[in-house]
Symmetry: C2
Subunit: 141 residues, 2 copies
Amino acid sequence: IQELTLLDLKAEHLMIASEKVAHVQMNNPLEHALLILVKSGYSAVPVLDTSYKFKGTIGKNVILNRILGLERFEMEKLSEIEVHEVMNKTIPCLNREDDFFTCLKTVIDYPFVCVVDDEGYFDGILTRRAILKQLNKYLHL
Amino acid sequence: IQELTLLDLKAEHLMIASEKVAHVQMNNPLEHALLILVKSGYSAVPVLDTSYKFKGTIGKNVILNRILGLERFEMEKLSEIEVHEVMNKTIPCLNREDDFFTCLKTVIDYPFVCVVDDEGYFDGILTRRAILKQLNKYLHL
Ligand SMILES: Nc1ncnc2c1ncn2[C@@H]1O[C@@H]2COP(=O)(O)O[C@H]3[C@@H](O)[C@H](n4cnc5c(N)ncnc54)O[C@@H]3COP(=O)(O)O[C@H]2[C@H]1O
Ligand SMILES: Nc1ncnc2c1ncn2[C@@H]1O[C@@H]2COP(=O)(O)O[C@H]3[C@@H](O)[C@H](n4cnc5c(N)ncnc54)O[C@@H]3COP(=O)(O)O[C@H]2[C@H]1O
């Protein structure tokens, strides 16, 4: 990555590859998803189907909002609701060939975006931190 | 802000002023803090004392980690533990006069940093989004 300039960098150079990304499955109960989120420490993670296609993202806030009743957090609902019922499907995606500026523009409004291939299979995630590290390096050259 | 170049920008131009920042107090029970975090939708927020001095930050993950028992989330502990017992005190701070590059460097590892004055009073927060928006603008001029 050192030899490439900002203009040559693509999503594939900056992304965290799929095998290193914590994720959950569409039909997991929210109880499992919340446990994965708390144990991994992440606010949100990608949602995949059984064939490893990207389906959306899920975060702690949408889970907690869903079980927040009038008096308390209704924890028993966590085992009754599945990830696909509350996940966020409107997150933008990138392709591994997308250039740096496309990547920068997409993370302005999202802490991370998913990188998928032409058939929709999950390749990895591109995070704000990866973009900021590159920009900090570029501005100090 | 339009007329200033990147080099002229300081934390005070980019920060969200304190009156627009959701926060909690040191001696609030975790139940109140979790409710503020879920209602506001933020992963983490600043913690202030009663005189509005900055004390640390608190997020959903540290609260949920604290109440995660062997079998379930022990929700009853939320009313027994106070914010100051679990908050993160090691977050870096900025001063409103800090330049853009100092701001950029600090948000590489933190989604937001707090801006405090010389006596430690809370001025506002500087977010990754604010930095990314400026960089995107600068790179397209
Ligand atoms: N275990 C850890 N060790 C060190 N630093 C940590 C960390 N967990 C979080 N952080 C820091 O906190 C930032 C926000 O994390 P968050 O979980 O809200 O938001 C994360 C999370 O939702 C997701 N993410 C990052 N890495 C992931 C992974 N390996 N698997 C799944 N999701 C990931 O992308 C978002 C943006 O990540 P980004 O790296 O830009 O920014 C991260 C990183 O700077
Ligand atoms: N209500 C909302 N409307 C539109 N977009 C929203 C939103 N809530 C969150 N986002 C988007 O999600 C990003 C991550 O939010 P998060 O809550 O994890 O992490 C946030 C949160 O912990 C804190 N934060 C931001 N604004 C705040 C505020 N007004 N009061 C308290 N904390 C705030 O700073 C972190 C970074 O914020 P940043 O703006 O860079 O990045 C935000 C923003 O791009």
